[in-house]
Symmetry: C2
Subunit: 719 residues, 2 copies
């Protein structure tokens, strides 16, 4: 049993003895600093790889302050304001934090500021409004009773992550802390400075083995309000990647100009829940290519210095796009990212074109958890419970923690627990030799507007934080992240190009009108034909939430004939429904013992065929239904918040939809949904309790036949 390795520990100055002890206990073979801490002298004597954070876009504050023209930009929208008189003045900064942003008035207002009448949906001519001072826009002939907004270019005068850390850790009273300003590498003088500084830094830091870029150039969108609280957060937001320079370069390269409204998007800021516009897709492609090419210059320098280049998947990660077409050109050796659940764990573990991946586990050693009222042990357990499901299927190469070790060591029970977790991680990794366990034969595709680019990244708002509005959908991704299927993320366009040929089950999950359900794309007859033929020829279709949903031609679910159900728009209440209720079904488990809770996102779903089997209803609304269609099968699920029972339902649904129930029945498996099983080519079988319960159950079809097991909370055993 290996008791050392694959673990990275954050260390800091002034606690050398504790660092030594912790490294020994956790078996850490790498150390790192954090945002706001320095590596201690001690690193020179530790037999460990040394990571050092490196901030290419905000690490050089003296220079940043001396060059205020280099800050990054944002497009922002003012509050929506009704004109109750014929004149209206809008303070664009209302609601925004002046410490973080300021209006950028030193630009061509005609191009970079706009005023919209949001009642008529029209842009005002520039002569119809004026900037009366640095922040107030006066609309000259406002129409009484119309609503107006201002789109404006803003300067980001406080780096978003440093602002977050600063406020979270109460650095206001710390005289050593300044507010850090981001600078924009698209400006030639910035890039020159950045590359020079990295060269210098590499020369000076012989002790560093791994340059942990935190991160690159453009932050995901994070805007605070006047109360210093989060106002807007979009992990996938590109709003903070704009600048006059980049927009001009884009216009040259793509042959058309992007307008402020292309970014403001009626105030939705191109949320990736929106149907992506051509303009937004083009901007992502433009920035992805630019950012990865610049990253390559940095990684080349790192490699020349004999070090490794690691990217932290967070903060300024915009444009890098680990699943994008240019990522392979970035020259990165490794990616490390925060693991919030199984899906984020797979997101990191499955990143291609790197030598290794590392998961930074929760909780962060920050005072928001490490305090008298916090529960660091509980958070560590929850994190491990969810992450282990993913690690079994697609192992990370390393794990680690972040934050301030001096805080963590004040919680000895926490240290005990993470010692165990580190060892269990090594055991899984070693036993499987880092390989995936056997994969079941149904090939599963998740289809949405984003496809591969958002592999394991659907329905996320802030990184892995829970949102009640999406729990019914994100549970599907979370479940799949720990199941033994080959999962592909495909786009609607790829279906038109034949992607269904390589799938056994297609899943469409999400709310109507979003990029995940698909919205208007379902009006394309070719898409409908492709999916109907796929199912009719034996494929499986699973819809969760509001699949294939856009109201047209007498249906809301455009594949209502395939699913046998449709959503009631209140337009067909006159049609009587006689649900064909069915109690027993393969997908409900043996004797229907699964305790599924299928929270629907909304509205009423009704049978539109006598043939569809209705397995669960909530009042008059269908929650679970199965149908046969030609040689294939379809299943509708109203919503699938993650739970062990719901997880198992989905797993069985995939086998059933692809007509492969027998494969499941013959596999090594456990009927108890809390117990999961992974089988390796070596013959080894890993059985693990993905719950906090004490469980006694039977594992079927092992080499020794059925086998009784007994596992404590989170327990596991190798057969």
């Amino acid at each position: 049993m290996t008791t050392k390795g694959r673990v990275t520990l954050p260390i800091e100055v002034g606690i050398d003895d504790q660092v030594r002890e912790l490294m020994e206990r956790l078996g850490a073979d790498a150390v790192r600093n954090s945002d706001g801490t320095e590596l201690p002298e001690l690193v020179h004597e530790l037999s460990a790889k040394v990571y050092s954070t490196y901030f290419p876009a905000r690490g050089d504050q003296e220079w940043a302050v001396a060059n205020p023209d280099t800050v990054t930009n944002l497009f922002l929208q003012s509050a929506r304001k009704p004109a109750l008189e014929n004149e209206l003045t809008i303070d664009v900064m209302e609601g925004y934090l002046t410490e973080q942003i300021e209006p950028d008035t030193n630009v061509d207002l005609d191009k970079y500021w706009e005023v919209h009448d949001r009642t008529t949906g029209t842009r005002l001519e520039t002569e119809d409004w004026e900037l009366v001072d640095g922040t107030n826009v006066r609309i000259k002939n406002a129409v009484k009773g119309h609503v107006y907004t201002v789109n404006f270019l803003a300067r980001q005068i406080w780096d978003a992550t440093q602002m977050y850390n600063y406020i979270t850790n109460n650095w206001d009273d710390d005289p050593t802390r300044d507010k850090e300003r981001p600078y924009n590498v698209v400006l030639p003088k910035v890039w020159k400075r950045v590359t020079e500084q990295l060269g210098k830094w590499l020369d000076e830091h012989d002790e560093v083995d791994v340059v942990r870029f935190t991160t690159f150039f453009y932050h995901f969108t994070l805007v605070f309000n006047t109360h210093r609280k989060e106002k807007f957060v979009d992990w996938f937001g590109y709003s903070a990647s704009v600048s006059v320079t980049a927009l001009e370069q884009f216009a040259e390269e793509y042959g058309y100009r992007l307008t402020p409204e292309d970014f403001i998007d009626e105030g939705y800021y191109n949320s990736y829940f929106r149907q992506p516009s051509k303009q937004f897709r083009d901007w992502i492609a433009f920035q992805h290519k630019f950012v990865t090419s610049r990253v390559r210059e940095l990684t080349d320098a790192v490699h020349e210095a004999g070090k490794e280049a690691m990217m932290f998947l967070g903060d300024n990660w915009i444009g890098v796009e680990p699943y994008g077409p240019h990522f392979k050109d970035a020259g990165l050796d490794a990616v490390v990212g925060s693991v919030g659940n199984a899906a984020t764990c797979r997101l990191i573990a499955d990143i291609p074109h790197v030598k290794y991946t590392e998961g930074r586990f929760l909780p962060y050693f920050f005072p928001d958890v490490f305090n008298e009222d916090g529960d660091p042990v509980g958070e560590a357990n929850s994190s491990w419970l969810t992450a282990r499901r993913a690690i079994v299927r697609s192992p990370l190469d390393r794990i680690g923690y972040g934050g301030y070790l001096s805080l963590a060591v004040q919680f000895p029970e926490f240290v005990d627990r993470i010692e165990e977790i580190c060892q269990e991680f090594r055991d899984i990794y070693d036993a499987a030799e880092g390989k995936h366990p056997q994969v079941a034969s149904p090939r599963v595709g998740i289809v949405n507007a984003w496809g591969k680019l958002r592999t394991w990244q659907t329905h996320m708002v802030a990184h892995a934080l829970p949102y009640e509005q999406v729990e019914a959908y994100v549970g599907v991704i979370e479940a799949l992240a720990g199941q033994g299927f080959d999962v592909q993320f495909i786009s609607f366009d790829e279906i038109l190009e034949g992607a269904l040929d390589n799938l056994d089950v297609l899943i469409n999950v999400g709310e109507a009108g979003t990029a995940f359900s698909g919205g208007d794309v379902w009006l394309n007859p070719d898409l409908q034909v492709a999916v109907r033929e796929f199912v009719a020829n034996g494929g499986g279709m699973i819809g969760v939430g509001e699949p294939c949903a856009v109201s047209a031609n007498g249906a809301f679910n455009q594949l209502s004939d395939v699913f046998g159900i449709d959503q009631e728009q209140s337009w067909s209440l006159s049609t009587d429904r006689y649900p064909n209720l069915v109690d027993e079904h393969f997908i409900l488990g043996e004797n229907g013992e699964l305790d599924v809770k299928l929270k629907g996102g909304s509205r009423f779903w009704v049978p539109v065929s006598d043939d569809v089997s209705i397995l669960k209803m909530n009042g008059t609304s269908v929650e679970l239904a199965s149908s046969e269609y030609g040689k294939g099968r379809a299943i509708y699920i109203a919503g699938l918040p993650y739970s062990q029972d719901n997880n198992r339902l989905l797993e069985r649904a995939i086998f059933w939809a692809s007509s492969k129930e027998a494969e499941y029945e013959n596999s090594v498996h456990c009927e108890d949904p809390r117990i999961e099983v992974a089988t390796y080519d070596s013959g080894a079988v890993f059985v693990y309790n993905s719950s906090f319960d004490q469980v006694e159950a039977t594992v079927r079809n092992t080499a020794d036949g059925d086998k009784e097991i007994k596992l404590g909370p989170l327990g596991s055993v190798w057969l």
Copy 2:
């Protein structure tokens, strides 16, 4: 105390003694027969008005059978069928009851049958399909993977109400019962026969005082399925009023042809939840004019014979439209209708241009309730509880019952109870002398696409039957039907014409995309401006469910600035929400004691302003919010299923929204939401318990100051 009058009893042959006893006990001053019963000889000696049912469009079955070309028509849609091969044959009758309908193939198929590709939304050319026998349509070059439907003209060979009665009462084994066929008065030979027969009948029925037309010419849409169960029911449906003759007359009068699809409407059959099309509105107008003009010919004949003409508001009521512009020309003396709740009671009581109105109370004396397992007393109580609320505000002139008296007399407790109810009705009527009690000053308007035409008739599918999908909305109408406000039903068009000038509070209630919420009409800037100015100038706006809802220009609620809230489309999840939670508010009652349950129809509602007060939330979704806007106020309610507490919430919301809280505080009222109060000009105050609880409470501001009262279930007292 009057102990006789204002009550109508159904009587029948063979139970003369019981008829005499019941008439005495109930104080009945009128008798009637029912569908399938004859008036007994006894009527000649009773000192009572005699009503006789009269069936102008199905009463003459011998002639009907001899003239099979006179049956009425329906436009129907076949099932939606996918083409899984390049040929597709659709049996149009699949799912329909052959006893009720048959395809009408003896017409110009080119005009009266259509095939649609429901994947592309296109109508096929006639040469692309053929009728291969009387019921199967073969589509020649079907596109694999597309869905098709057939629109076809059908003949109604069984009258819908008689079919319902026949099946409900198991008349299959009764050799005296034939299936009755409806005939269509638009045909000249039918009309000639109908008028001749009425003349003859009037001559022969001297004993009859009131001709109770049951009803006129066209049945609301009611279609049964192959299992002899209801397949489609639309109380407001005009589908069964079509015929080649009428369609040709329409084309001549309106200058354009209606197509089958104008009626089929993608399979939604112009449900009045749909945004009404111009074509459908025109058809209603055309039939309303035609039907009322023909009714006038019948009522003239009745009056000439010295009798009264009463209409039963049900069965073949289509086209009469009691709130339509031509109703006054129909010459009716009275309307009688079934009372299912307060709203249906007001619907009947408020009908203009008649001498008196009568409510037929539930339960019907039919075997579906009058059996060992039934609860006729409970149903009578529920009916009286809800109806009394309406009767207090706008008294019916008479009440009555329907069905078979021979059944009812077998349930003596039921007879005891309706004896009490009849007397309480007379007491209320007499004490108030048939006048309305005092009306509160806030003038309330409900706005939807239908306006006055659907007065008290919104969100109904089958007459007063409960539908889970609309309970959140219909509760508003039910509440208002028993409150002391002047309520107007106005259309969106009327707002543009200045209707808000006569209102203090505007209510928009319903689900997005329906005629009740309004859908696309809210994209009209003029409508938005009118409502914004109304509120800004001091008006009140109440939105229930999904008000003003259509996604455009960065909002879903197009008056999100007025309400301060909007629906989350999953496009603005990145925007943080900080609900301004408020515990106490006038609308929540004294000390917030109202126990409101505001079932939302769907989805998440979020604050979009810091100023809006959030009074109730369900998880992260707003259920109740109030805001101030200019000089006016707005309230959002997620849903208002009827309950005493919700009723009171709405009442208080109307006072608050119109800034008239003081008026409520100073009125005679009771804080307990179960107790309602009506004040009359005479100084009389009626206090009634609208619950099944024993209640002790205080009535405020009576002539003698605050007064303690104690009322049993459904109890009442005059102060």
